[in-house]
């Protein structure tokens, strides 16, 4: 009898709280979006599963001694996992498109306006009763506008870990929603004639330039913005492994073994931050709202800067490619390509959009470094 009672007390039913049930539903929704609608499945599936695991009553998976707790402490608190993801991203990224046309870096800079405008928005939301964000939290939320998952997780883990779950979910969700969010903004700000602009073919880039590029970026970062050195440094290391051509074993390890294994653990540990008390509150609504705003503003800033550059540029620039500056590689470059084809079925913008796109990865890492330097 005693044992039966113990067993009953050990069931989940006897320990159910409504918050946990709701969080399990949130996890299930994320998994549904990942599998059915292919919303960034590599991250949202593990995040959703981690959310369910962490909210199983009594199992204690996210409490000291539990698997998800260990993973979080080892990989997220320390910043190791997002940095290793950046290593893999560096090894997977071909910077040729931006090396062939360095002006594209400007578009990658412009699109970061989404980050800094959202920062003001987050602070302004303090006027709304029940919503309160410190400057650190506002900065962590703003980085969603960088459209770069690991950057958002890294910055958030360093300056606002209490918001990490909601920020990561918002960042990856909006990255998945890029094909929905960006096109209306792009069409609103451009004329059909502008969208039909054809761009000149890119010149090929020498192997030496590709090898020297990551080293140059690293040195500039060291001189100008050392707080961005962890993120930018790992990105550059990965890219150097890739382009050097003498360490294919290591480049492949960074692109496959390391990034795959870390992605599973990163997703689980981020999902484990989705507790009812941390997620089911009005702040999360604010984060979701601000995230969408950040994407819209970033897209608009990129497109407008491209229009401005087109005025002064010798070679024509299609303003659509400015939208790719938010990064969300390679999703937003594909969106640009699709919009370009819609305006002119012969206008293939994919390679041109890859320039601002990879520049945007650097841009948001730089923005994260600035926020780290000034806010924390």
């Amino acid at each position: 009898m005693e044992d039966l009672r113990t067993l009953w007390l050990n069931t989940g039913v006897a320990n159910l709280e409504w918050g946990m049930v709701l969080m399990v539903v949130v996890g299930a929704v994320l998994i549904y979006l990942a599998i059915r609608h292919k919303f960034e499945p590599l991250l949202l599936l593990p995040i959703g599963f981690g959310a369910i695991l962490a909210n199983i009553p009594l199992a204690g998976l996210a409490e000291p001694g539990g698997l998800l707790y260990y993973i979080y402490q080892i990989g997220i608190s320390t910043g190791i996992f997002p940095l290793l993801i950046f290593l893999g991203v560096g090894a997977m990224t071909d910077f040729s498109a931006v090396l062939a046309n360095p002006k594209m870096f400007i578009l990658g800079a412009a699109a970061q306006f989404g980050i800094f405008a959202t920062l003001i928005g987050a602070v302004a939301l303090n006027w709304v009763p029940g919503m309160e964000f410190t400057l650190e939290q506002a900065a962590a939320i703003a980085i969603i506008g960088g459209a770069d998952g690991p950057t958002a997780i890294y910055l958030s883990s360093q300056i606002a870990p209490e918001l990490l779950g909601a920020i990561a979910v918002a960042a990856y969700s909006y990255m998945a929603l890029v094909p929905v969010i960006q096109p209306p903004v792009m069409r609103l700000l451009t004329s059909k004639k502008e969208r039909q602009i054809k761009m000149q073919q890119l010149k090929p880039v020498s192997k030496r330039a590709k090898i020297l590029f990551p080293l140059m970026v690293l040195i500039i970062t060291a001189f100008l913005l050392p707080t961005a050195a962890p993120l930018v440094g790992m990105l550059c290391l990965g890219n150097l492994l890739r382009e050097s051509g003498v360490v294919d074993r290591l480049s492949n390890a960074a692109q496959n073994e390391i990034i795959n294994v870390v992605t599973i653990f990163l997703g689980l540990a981020v999902g484990a931050q989705l507790s009812a008390s941390a997620f089911l509150n009005v702040q999360t609504l604010g984060i979701l709202l601000l995230g969408a705003v950040a994407f819209v503003i970033g897209t608009a800033a990129g497109v407008l800067m491209a229009k401005l550059m087109n005025v002064f540029s010798k070679d024509p620039i299609n303003p659509l490619i400015g939208a790719a500056g938010v990064s969300a590689v390679p999703m937003s470059a594909r969106v640009v390509n699709k919009e370009g084809l819609a305006a002119n079925p012969q206008n293939f913008l994919l390679m041109h959009a890859m320039g601002p796109n990879v520049a945007g990865v650097l841009g948001s890492a730089v923005a994260a470094g600035i926020l780290l330097a000034l806010v924390s």
């Binding site: 360095p102 800094f116 003001i120 400057l135 010149k203 192997k207 020297l212 140059m216 926020l371 000034l374």
Partner: protein, 90 residues
């Protein structure tokens, strides 16, 4: 301790100004240096060929495959990948 709303807004606005300035500064410097880099390290005329021949040298003496072989090869790789990806408990 708690900052007032208006001071926070001022902080945020300053942050935005300095932040965007810095991002632009960083990426403009990068633009200039990359422009210099691509001028200093231009594309050699024969780079593409060089790469191809070196990979031939280290990996195969078989020469260029003909069309029939290419079909067989494509299928072989497809099959291999499919086999590789269909997991079997061992």
């Amino acid at each position: 301790m708690q900052p007032t709303m208006s001071s926070m807004l001022t902080d945020a606005a300053t942050l935005m100004a300095i932040g965007m300035l810095s991002v632009f500064l960083f990426l403009v410097v990068l633009t200039l240096l990359v422009s210099a880099l691509t001028k200093l390290a231009p594309m050699p005329a024969s780079a593409g060929n060089e790469k191809r021949s070196s990979s031939q040298g280290t990996q195969s003496e078989a020469g260029q495959p003909n069309a029939a072989q290419m079909a067989a090869i494509a299928t072989a790789v497809t099959q291999y990948r499919a086999a590789h990806e269909s997991p079997a408990r061992d």
